[in-house]
C-alpha cells in the first residue's frame, strides 16, 4: 500500500516530504530508540515514534524508510521539517499514541 493511501485511511497529517508519497510501504516499526531503529527497521517501513528532533531524518534516510509517523500530536522541530523536505522524507503526524496507531497500521497493511 502506498503512503498516500495510508494517510487517507488513517487520517494522518502530512507535515513534510509530500513529494514522496507514492512509495510502497513494506511494514511498520515502532520505537523511540535510534539504535534500535537503525538495527531492526527494514527498507520501506513506516517508522512510528515520539522523537521530533532532526536526527530522525538521517535515520530514515539511512535505512530507506518510507516515512515517519509522529505520535500524540507532537510538533516536530522546525529543523526536522526543513531537513525532511530537503531529503524528501515524508513526516506525518497523528493524534493517537504509539500503541493505537501501530495497531491501526498493522491492521491496514498486514
Amino acid at each position: 500500500m502506498k503512503i498516500k493511501e495510508i494517510i487517507e485511511k488513517l487520517q494522518l497529517k502530512p507535515l513534510a516530504g509530500q513529494e514522496n508519497l507514492d512509495v510502497d510501504v513494506t511494514g511498520g516499526y515502532t520505537s523511540d530508540l535510534l539504535s534500535d531503529v537503525i538495527a531492526n527497521s527494514k527498507e520501506g517501513n513506516l517508522w512510528i515514534t515520539l522523537q521530533i528532533h532532526q536526527n530522525i531524518i538521517a535515520v530514515a534516510r539511512l535505512k530507506d524508510l518510507a516515512g515517519i509517523i509522529i505520535v500524540n500530536n507532537r510538533e516536530p522541530d522546525e529543523d526536522t521539517l526543513k531537513k525532511a523536505n530537503e531529503e524528501n522524507v515524508p513526516v506525518l503526524c497523528c493524534q493517537e499514541m504509539a500503541f493505537e496507531i501501530s495497531g491501526k497500521l498493522y491492521e491496514l497493511i498486514s
Partner: protein
C-alpha cells in the same frame, strides 16, 4: 589482504554537531550502493558506520572516517580525537552507556552502539587511549555472502 585499492575516500565528522549527524554515513551508504556492493553488506555497513559516527558526534571533538575498498574487503576506519574509552570491555556490553540524560531523551544512549557495530561487521577492532581518542576498524568481506 591485497593493497590494491579500488576506492579510497575520507569523511569528516564534527563532534557535538547534531545537525550534520548521519551525513557521513548516508554518503557512504550512497557510494556503496552506487558501486554495486551486495545490498546485505550495504545494510550492515550502514548500521555500523552510523553508530560509529554518532559516537563521535556525542563523545568526541572530531573524527575522520576512511573508506577503503579493495576487491576483497570493505574497510571503514574511524579515528577520533576526544575523551576515549577507559574500559573497552565494559563499553562493549549491551546496555552500557555513558550518555547524558539529554542524549537519552533524544533516543540515543541505549548502549547498543558498539555491540551493533560488532554484530554487523565481519571483523571489528577497537583501540582507545583515554584523553586522546578512539580508533575503530570495521571490516566487511566482499567475497562471501550470507555471513552474519
Amino acid at each position: 589482504m591485497s593493497d590494491e585499492c579500488v576506492l579510497s575516500q575520507k569523511f569528516k565528522i564534527e563532534g557535538g554537531n547534531f545537525g550534520n549527524a548521519g551525513k557521513a554515513s548516508t554518503s557512504i551508504k550512497e557510494i556503496l550502493k552506487e558501486i554495486g556492493i551486495d545490498p546485505s553488506i550495504v545494510i550492515r555497513a550502514s548500521i555500523a558506520i552510523y553508530e560509529a559516527e554518532m559516537n563521535v558526534v556525542m563523545y568526541a571533538k572530531k573524527g575522520i572516517i576512511t573508506l577503503n575498498i579493495t576487491p576483497e574487503e570493505l574497510h571503514l576506519k574511524l579515528e577520533d580525537e576526544g575523551q576515549g574509552i577507559a574500559d573497552i570491555y565494559q563499553a562493549m556490553k549491551e546496555g552500557f552507556s555513558t550518555a547524558t540524560n539529554e542524549m537519552r531523551e533524544m533516543g540515543f544512549g541505549a548502549g547498543m552502539g558498539l555491540p551493533n557495530i560488532k554484530k554487523n561487521a565481519d571483523r571489528f577492532e577497537i583501540t582507545s587511549i583515554p584523553g586522546k581518542g578512539t580508533t575503530l576498524d570495521i571490516i566487511f568481506y566482499l567475497n562471501k555472502t550470507g555471513n552474519q
